[in-house]
Symmetry: C2
Subunit: 308 residues, 2 copies
């Protein structure tokens, strides 16, 4: 059963025990554009104690550079690019390193600028994504749209992630690429979170967009690059020898049982679930021992608040 | 194994053998706005031979009245409202007769005017659907949209069907109603076709929209009103005593194995698959005997062409 972080001793024990603190962002660090209480203070405290702090997010709408801007904007300073691992970056790395897609091939993107930027940083050309032609006529679907009728023969991979600029045209073009060439173009999902938490409600998550084109095309994604997939954690371990040698020195902090907690657990890390996202205390306590988080807390900021 | 309709004798045998001819529309009668070859002649021939002709469509974007207009427009005259059974009508009837939703409750619609009209004809108030506030700002999603932040407490059912005016806002509001009140508001799917065939390509079908909100809300539809669900066929049988008494006197003609053919077979009718929609001859011939269509043909118009 998960141990609740509800006293100074328990909070201090966690700070002392781990060297690597990995954080999900949405629902842990912030909700929407609002930083959660005492998060900045908690991160400061950890850094003052020489802890390694890393951010691991499934939200593919932003690139790592975009995330640095977001941290600044909500009042967390001093984060560096190598501390941030997003599913947009993980997906781009997957396409380069695992698929080894030639750089003269293009990638069709159903998603936002984060995916485009990370791919472009690796030298790929993207199509779809934020192309204004896909949203210019957002209200009325045109079955003879130029991008629906003229598929690009150079597309060598399809990436699907979260976009709030979703429409029938984008879904239908994505489906064309997924069924093209006898369904042979690789189908990459940034992550499969069913919902996207904002400050006061749950919205449609990347996984729910992926389900739509998956059902339409009769295909499952060939790879899911976000949590709980271990490829992102392996990349983090490669950069952090101490964590690679002793995963038990790492704590994965998140708000979702089926992504964040599984991600940490599968990688040999201990886990801390915070209740500022989508899970409830009842849900946490109902978990079987084998999958229960190591700890849970009302909020990340309790690590700071309880130790003052 | 399915018998191919490839000669005068076989075509004539079919015309002679059945009294009731039930037709799917998209991919059988028309594709998009184009009537398929010799369809009008085939329907004339059947009517001249005193056959009962009925249209059974999963496309919920139109009401029965709208369908009459569409038949006229593409060159098929004389169709009457009682010859047309659409999934929008079937869904509205389900809400009235099976759910017995009080008339002072409202229905949230993710779909087109067809659903709204059929519900309004039964005395219900619909919200969502074609409300222009849901598409006015089609490009940029507003997380504080009035319809997302102010859920209507009188909504007593959610219907999801096909809409090409799809966006993230509509999906997210639909999800709010599906998770509202501990997920207790009934969730009705017009049909679960994964794709929507147009004249030259497959687009996203109602089922692929339903999958999205289903995955997001963690709910399966409580009812699917279109083919292959038998509620539509039972309604047809109720109006056609001869078919009810002898289902074997009926032939269901369609272009989909998993909806049209299953619909006919489950209801005791013989079946004819036409290759003008989404299936291929290879797929038809690969079916196990227990689920293979009785017949298949290159097109519906062959019944006319081959008997001249």
């Amino acid at each position: 059963m998960s141990l609740k972080v509800d006293s100074r001793d328990k909070a201090q024990e966690i700070i002392d025990k781990y060297d690597y603190f990995l954080f999900d962002c949405d629902g842990v660090i912030w909700r929407g554009d609002h930083i959660l209480p005492k998060v900045a203070e908690t991160l400061d405290l950890l850094k003052k104690n020489n802890k390694t702090v890393l951010f691991v997010t499934n939200n593919s709408t932003k690139s790592r550079d975009d995330y640095l801007g977001k941290f600044e904007k909500i009042g967390i300073s001093g984060i560096t690019k190598d501390e941030v691992f997003g599913s947009s970056y993980a997906s781009a790395v997957y396409i380069e390193k695992i698929l080894q897609l030639p750089k003269d091939k293009k990638v069709w993107v159903l998603g936002e600028a984060g995916i485009e930027k990370e791919l472009q940083e690796l030298g790929y050309t993207t199509i779809g994504g934020t192309d204004p032609r896909l949203t210019a006529d957002g209200v009325t679907f045109d079955p003879d749209h130029e991008l629906l009728n003229n598929l690009d023969k150079d597309v060598g991979a399809v990436i699907v992630g979260l976009t709030m600029n979703l429409n029938y045209l984008k879904l239908s073009i994505t489906m064309q690429y997924l069924i093209k060439d006898n369904k042979s173009i690789p189908f990459i999902a940034t992550n499969i979170d069913s919902t996207f938490p904002t400050k006061d409600k749950l919205l449609i998550g990347a996984g729910s967009i992926i389900e739509s084109v998956s059902y339409a095309s009769g295909r499952k994604p060939d790879a899911v690059c976000g949590k709980p997939n271990q490829s992102m954690l392996n990349a983090i371990k490669a950069d952090n020898e101490g964590l690679k040698a002793s995963p038990g020195k790492g704590l994965m902090v998140g708000d979702r049982l089926n992504t964040d907690m599984k991600f940490g657990r599968d990688g040999g890390l201990d886990t801390l679930l915070v209740l500022t996202g989508i899970e409830t205390e009842d849900r946490v306590l109902a978990q079987e021992k084998s999958v229960a988080p190591t700890y849970y807390a009302d909020k990340l900021g309790d690590l700071f608040e309880m130790t003052q």
